[in-house]
Amino acid sequence: MIEIIIPKLGLTMESAKLVSWEFASGDKVKEDETVLVIETDKVSFDVPAPADGIIHPVAPVGTDCAVEETVGYLAKDQEEYEQTIKEHPSAVSEGAEKAEMSVSEAVPPEDPQDQAPTPVMTEGRIKASPLARSMAAKHDLDLRAITGSGPAGRIVKTDILRALKEKPVVADRVSEITSGAADKASPNKTAIEDIPIKGVRRIIFDNMYESLSRTAQLTVHTDACAEALMGLRKRLKRDDHKISYNAILTKITAMALRLHPNINTSVEGDSIRLWKQVHIGLAMEANDALIVPVVRNPDLKTIREIDHDITELISKTRDNRLSPDDLANGTFTITNLGFADIDHFTPIIRPPESAILGVGRIIKKPVIKNDQVVPEARIGLSLTFDHRIIDGAPGARFLKTIKDMIEDPLLMIS
């Protein structure tokens, strides 16, 4: 009998949430087949079977498990399997409901559904008559959003009929929020597909909402002359290997952060924590999801070293090889939409960080110098910061420092 454990995917990883079991107890699995999906606060990970055998999941879906905790067993034959289920009773089916509950808890408290919990919800299992369940399934109603009027709060036919009447108001909103499904009441719209919000998408979903709903975000825009930046890049080119703009901008931002420690901060409880280290995350697109691997200590590295780090992180992202350590403990983020001809935008802070730099395209624009209109390469810059802890002037000054360093990279060593 082999134990199935939560693997340690990175130095900082302490626990993972059990997202789903891909097999039921008693199923035969092959070595390296994905048997279990886990999720840290950064990534989701497919856990492969350590060997061929008969699987017996024990830990219920939705629970947080410590690293190296045993969550299931793999028996080599039927006899061993029967022994295993006797020794290790499963809590998996019970957990399915818990998982459902935790999803509903994960909806931010601003949601009115959550503020007025129905009495049935508090009892864990939703009481509903078989008819009410089949009607709710048919009409795609969420039983959690319906108050039961039957004995002991049981949801009965009349409650479903009432909910159906109210459906255009409530039910569609619930389904929009929970599943992103198209408005079913409208005859003019038909859904191609309903994509469940889970895994990495669920993390992004929750983080973005959390960010905008819990902080006071202010974005300031400027642009900088990019001629010196382009010149620097040219000078750093070696053996046809071009240094990326992101590497230079990461170095510039890191040096600017050293001069503005009030930006390199997090809100921790009742205090503002200033970080000694600078770790800059770079927003990347991977498998239709936003992912932000982190460059460690760019203030202490050369641009070439940073470029090497970024290249490595990009290749890890493409091959899905990122570990939670690659994603953890950023103190600031850079996001670049220049490739899409964007000049300025309003990036959203990634909590617990307090600021994010949005980089636009480099393009020649007419500028006035000595009362003459001349062409000059310009780069768009947008800085979003948490106005709760960073006032407008220091925020703007930080962006000005970045602008100055872009226009005169020598200032980086000041």
Partner: protein
């Protein structure tokens, strides 16, 4: 079809006369038949019209049922009058081991075209040994058909079908319903065994019942109509075979079920129906299937106590409200 109002007794007598006229192999055997015309006067006049075909037997149910089984084996169509349904106990081997099983045990070479006619039920202060509703014993014995009619028209249509049936049929007729009148067609008609009937259409709850309780349920349905509850009353008429198609149709419409029978609750036929509905119509149920039956005690002699033990209209009204959570 033209109709007139006659009692269950008259409907039964008419059916017997018609079948005896139609088929000379039909005869009746039982106790006190010629002298009294049957214990409830149900056969008055028949012995004069069909001399020799209404046979008085000694007081031995073993012999009476045994004679019926033997006669049926030789090609006759006997109607065995049990006097009181309670007396089946002394003829039980003949009923359960012979009548029910012979066709099966002889590989279909013999048939038992026989009716065991048994007046059952309480409400006449006839005490524990003369007041029982024993239908569950027989639905639990494969090989028997069990008929439990309520209104006169059903009695006539079903007893005629039972007499013509080539297999043994137990025909329970409730004592309290002999005098019950109702419209019965003038013309000849038959009601197939295994067909239930909606006696009152409704949309809120299905009341499944049979025999005397049909009338009690109809009264309860009328009472709750005032409270805005539209109850459907289904008279099962036959317990085996059971008309589950009609039950299913009604339950799918109302989503609520109350089962009412006079037999005591524990192990009563209501349990069988409830289980079947739970298995096959689960997704259509909006409330637990609820049963009403007599209390689990011998039927008392005292009229007050007897009434206390048997389901009353008020119990059914309460049952309806409980199912519907009103």
């Amino acid at each position: 079809m033209s109709e007139r109002e006659i009692s269950c007794s008259s409907a039964l007598a008419e059916a017997m006369a018609e079948e005896m006229e139609r088929d000379e192999t039909v005869f009746v055997i039982g106790e006190d038949l010629t002298a009294h015309g049957g214990i409830f006067g149900q056969f008055i006049g028949l012995s004069e019209t069909y001399p020799g075909r209404i046979i008085d037997a000694p007081i031995s149910e073993t012999c009476i049922v045994g004679s019926g089984v033997g006669a049926a084996l030789t090609g006759m169509r006997p109607i065995v009058d049990m006097h009181f349904a309670d007396f089946v106990t002394t003829g039980m081997d003949e009923i359960a081991n012979q009548m029910a099983k012979i066709r099966y045990m002889f590989g279909g070479q013999a048939k038992i075209p026989m009716v065991l006619w048994a007046p059952d039920g309480a409400g006449l202060s006839a005490a524990a040994q003369h007041s029982q509703s024993l239908e569950s014993w027989f639905v639990h014995t494969p090989g028997l058909k069990v008929v439990v009619p309520s209104e006169p028209a059903d009695v006539k249509g079903l007893i005629k079908t039972a007499i013509r049936d080539d297999d043994p049929v137990i025909f329970f007729q409730h004592k309290r319903l002999f005098a019950q009148t109702g419209p019965v067609p003038e013309e000849e008609y038959l009601i197939p065994i295994g067909s239930a009937a909606v006696k009152r259409e409704g949309s809120d709850i299905t009341i499944l019942t049979y025999s005397r309780m049909t009338y009690m349920c109809l009264e309860a349905a009328d009472q709750v109509a005032g409270a805005g509850i539209n109850a459907e009353v289904v008279d099962l008429r036959t317990l085996k075979p059971l008309d589950f198609d009609l039950i299913s149709e009604s339950v799918k419409k109302t989503n609520n079920v109350l089962i009412v029978h006079e037999a005591c609750l524990t192990g009563g036929f209501g349990a069988e129906i409830a289980a079947k509905i739970g298995e096959e119509l689960f997704d259509h149920l909006d409330a637990p299937v609820t049963r009403i039956g007599a209390k689990d005690v011998p039927i008392p002699f005292s009229p007050v106590m007897e009434e206390f033990v048997l389901p009353q209209v008020s119990d059914i009204v309460e049952g309806i409200k409980k199912v519907l959570n009103r």
